[in-house]
């Protein structure tokens, strides 16, 4: 069975960071409309990332020896919570800070740590993650991109797709096959760091339904990689990636994807003096669920901070969190379109449309709803 999550204090030292972050964001985000802020972890702004890095707020939890802040998981929780609630454009450094740099710190060589991590923490080095392929989505172990050993390192051939920020990133960490065949599944997979400037790499951005171009397809046509492209152990790629997904599924980023929209709607309701029962109940339900999930997320953070790996608990929070994130635009759309006496401002409608159109991805990124429920079922002792 699954251990119950219970309320956990947020240490005062971590909470103290909130004021400084807010003061910075007040200036950095001044005049930015909600429909742009709603993009948040898909809003790419290298200038913003460098400014954040200059304040020491990228890699807050990474070791100081590599340019990180050496703080605990709580400090990062507060920072991320503030960035996401304001809709800061964190996309440029987001993946590098959240997944790639922790991965390199955990599995990389000393030289790799010194080469990559300080640049990530300065907000200058950006990473993308090469996992999905045209024929490999949820069934990630079926990937076909292959790196063949050569005297100088590796020769890479294959294709990745749905790679967020591939067109903006200097590096990719890719999961590829280094031995065996597709039938070997999880065995024989490794993670390689790929310099995106190398010859033989073609990146083609894919336009999404909102008109944005945040993800790409990436082609590797006999790309020559050095020996030290390998991160971690050869053949241990699956275990490393699984650990990475545990990072990705925990934390406050799984409940705030629609919060900019919610706040924009509340502003509209306050301006127009809305107080009908349906509106009150909807606003109350959303804030009650969000506060509950925030407490669950903090409980998971406490477990991570204590050195545990709460894989199942993180799945509980992510599945419930994305369900709420996806409920919000649908319910708010109904409330706005149902209130004939209150004309919604164009800015709110643009924010609503963006979140509505993009919301289906909330329960895809980091593991689909079905994959998460399978993991929870195993935690319950059903599998």
């Amino acid at each position: 069975m699954i251990e119950a999550l219970s309320l956990h204090p947020l240490p005062a030292e971590a909470d103290a960071l909130r004021g400084e972050v807010r003061a910075f964001l007040d200036g950095a985000l001044a005049g930015m409309p909600p429909d742009l802020r709603a993009r948040s972890w898909l809003g790419f702004d290298a200038g913003f990332s460098r400014a954040l890095g200059a304040r020491g707020w990228i890699g807050l939890q990474l070791p100081q020896a590599y340019g990180g802040g050496g703080r605990d998981a709580y400090a990062r929780f507060v920072l991320v919570e503030e960035l996401l609630n304001r809709g800061a454009p964190v996309s440029a450094h987001w993946i590098a800070e959240r997944q790639s740099a922790p991965m390199i710190v955990r599995y990389g060589t000393e030289a790799q740590k010194r080469f990559y991590v300080p640049g990530v923490c300065r907000g200058e080095l950006y990473f993308c993650i090469g996992m999905s392929e045209p024929q490999s989505g949820s069934d990630l172990a079926s990937i076909r991109t292959r790196a063949t050993p050569t005297p100088g390192g590796w020769r890479l051939k294959g294709q990745k797709i749905w790679t967020t920020n591939a067109q903006h990133s200097q590096y990719m960490i890719a999961l590829v096959r280094t031995s065996g065949s597709t039938e070997d599944r999880q065995r024989g997979l490794s993670q390689l760091i790929i310099d995106m400037k190398l010859p033989g790499i073609t990146v083609r951005p894919i336009e999404d339904l909102t008109g944005d171009r945040h993800f790409s397809e990436v082609f590797f046509d006999d790309v020559e990689l050095p020996h030290d492209a390998l991160v971690g152990e050869e053949g241990s790629g699956w275990a490393q990636v699984t650990a990475e997904l545990a990072y990705e599924r925990s934390g406050p980023e799984r409940l705030y994807s629609s919060i900019v929209l919610f706040d924009a709607w509340l502003t509209h309701l306050r301006t127009t003096g809305a107080d009908d029962d349906t509106t009150l109940a909807l606003a109350g339900r959303i804030v009650g669920h969000t506060a509950t999930l925030r407490s669950m997320s903090l409980a998971v953070t406490a477990q991570v901070n204590a050195g545990a790996s709460p894989v199942v608990e993180a799945c509980l929070v992510k599945d419930l969190g994305t369900e709420l994130e996806q409920f919000m635009p649908l319910a708010i759309a109904d409330a706005i379109a149902g209130a004939t006496q209150r004309d919604a401002p164009a800015e709110l409608l643009r924010t609503l449309a963006y979140v509505t159109q993009f919301a289906p991805t909330f329960s895809l990124r980091g593991g689909t709803r079905e994959v998460l429920r399978g993991i929870i079922a195993r935690g319950l002792g059903l599998r």
């Binding site: 069975m1 699954i2 119950a4 999550l5 219970s6 309320l7 956990h8 204090p9 947020l10 005062a12 919570e81 503030e82 609630n85 919060i259 919610f262 706040d263 509340l266 309701l269 306050r270 809305a274 107080d275 029962d277 509106t279 009150l280 109940a281 909807l282 606003a283 109350g284 339900r285 804030v287 009650g288 669920h289 969000t290 506060a291 509950t292 999930l293 925030r294 407490s295 669950m296 409980a299 608990e313 509980l316 599945d319 419930l320 079905e370 998460l372 429920r373 399978g374 929870i376 079922a377 935690g379 319950l380 002792g381 059903l382 599998r383």
Partner: protein
């Protein structure tokens, strides 16, 4: 601290409140023996200040006890009695002996009488605590009331009517929030009942075989149970928010969150549990019904999710800052309100 109390309390309930006793009291049997055991255990005054002979627990510390009541389907308003005794003691009153229920509201009738409609535990209570219309509270002697059972099978809910304010009633002009308190306690009981329903349903899915394997091996069942587990986990922490606080009274908006979240989960959990159990789940003989009947009754007691969501929504709209600040200031308990 609270674990010192929780383990013996769990043992007490396991020993003295098995399903047979629950059925017997629900069927109209006397709760005297079970109440006597509970009284002798000393848990009744867990929240009463130490200076007045109690254990001096904060509401947050007693929370696991309330959850345990729900897990064992205790057919007595024990949590309610504990809280009323604490409020009485804090206010300088000597708590009376007997079972104390909390009513969601008192109505003044045109003939000068008083009614407490739909009072949870009203059939077995000796006293009823309720907000007095216009402010303050009453402690009303249930023994002197005309009791009208709800007519719902197995329910201990009752309408209580007094022809006039009884002489033995205790009246106070002090702060009163019995409806909020009842909501917070019921949310904690719901959290316990939800945990038990999840355990029972997972066990059943692992034991019941169809098509040559246990039904828990089917993905359709696994995903329903995963979703149930998510709502049970959310309910537990929401209920904990409802019972956080240093004094005996819950914080009203936190109680609202707790009752709204657990009530919503109760409806989903009852449906899922019965869907997985098949026909056996709706038989009187099988214990599931002791819990799912409670899930529905407790969902309604003191107000269901829409009522409390409106309370939350009204407070949120009256606020002016971002949602995050409202949550941090009004809903999520500060560190000093947590006891670990």
């Amino acid at each position: 601290m609270s674990e010192l109390f929780t383990a013996p309390f769990e043992r007490l309930l396991a020993d003295h409140c098995p399903p047979a006793v629950v059925r017997q009291i629900e069927g109209g049997g006397t709760p005297a023996a079970l109440w006597c055991t509970v009284t002798e255990s000393g848990f009744l005054d867990a929240l009463v200040p130490e200076a007045q002979g109690g254990a001096g627990l904060a509401l947050a510390e007693a929370f696991p006890l309330f959850v345990a009541e729900g897990r064992h389907a205790l057919p007595l308003p024990l949590a309610h009695t504990m809280l009323v005794r604490a409020v009485l003691a804090h206010g300088g009153h000597t708590p009376p002996a007997g079972i104390i229920a909390i009513a969601a509201q008192a109505r003044l009738r045109a003939d000068g009488g008083i009614s407490c409609p739909g009072t949870p535990g009203g059939l077995v209570a000796d006293w009823v605590a309720v907000d007095r219309p216009g402010g303050g509270w009453w402690l009303l002697p249930a023994a002197q009331a005309r009791r009208e059972g709800s007519g719902i099978h197995g329910s201990l809910r009752a309408d209580l009517h007094w022809p006039a304010l009884p002489a033995s009633a205790v009246a106070s002009a002090a702060h009163s929030a019995w409806r909020d308190a009842g909501a917070a306690l019921t949310a904690a009981q719901l959290a316990g009942a939800l945990e038990r329903v999840l355990t029972m349903t997972v066990d059943f899915a692992n034991q019941r075989e169809q098509f040559g394997r246990s039904i828990g091996k089917f993905q359709a069942i696994q995903h329903q149970l995963a979703l149930l587990a998510e709502h049970v986990a959310a309910s537990r922490i929401a209920a904990e928010i409802g019972c956080s606080g240093a004094g005996p009274w819950p914080v009203p908006l936190r109680a609202a969150l707790a009752k709204a979240r657990t009530s919503e989960a109760a409806a989903l959990a009852a449906a899922t549990a019965h869907a997985v159990h098949g026909a056996i789940g709706v038989t009187a003989e099988f214990d599931l019904q002791l819990y799912t009947r409670r899930l529905h009754e407790w969902r309604a007691d003191f107000g269901a999710e829409t009522h409390w969501n409106r309370v939350l929504g009204r407070a949120l709209l009256a606020d002016t800052g971002p949602t995050l600040d409202f949550m941090r200031h009004a809903l999520i308990p500060p560190n000093q309100d947590l006891f670990r």
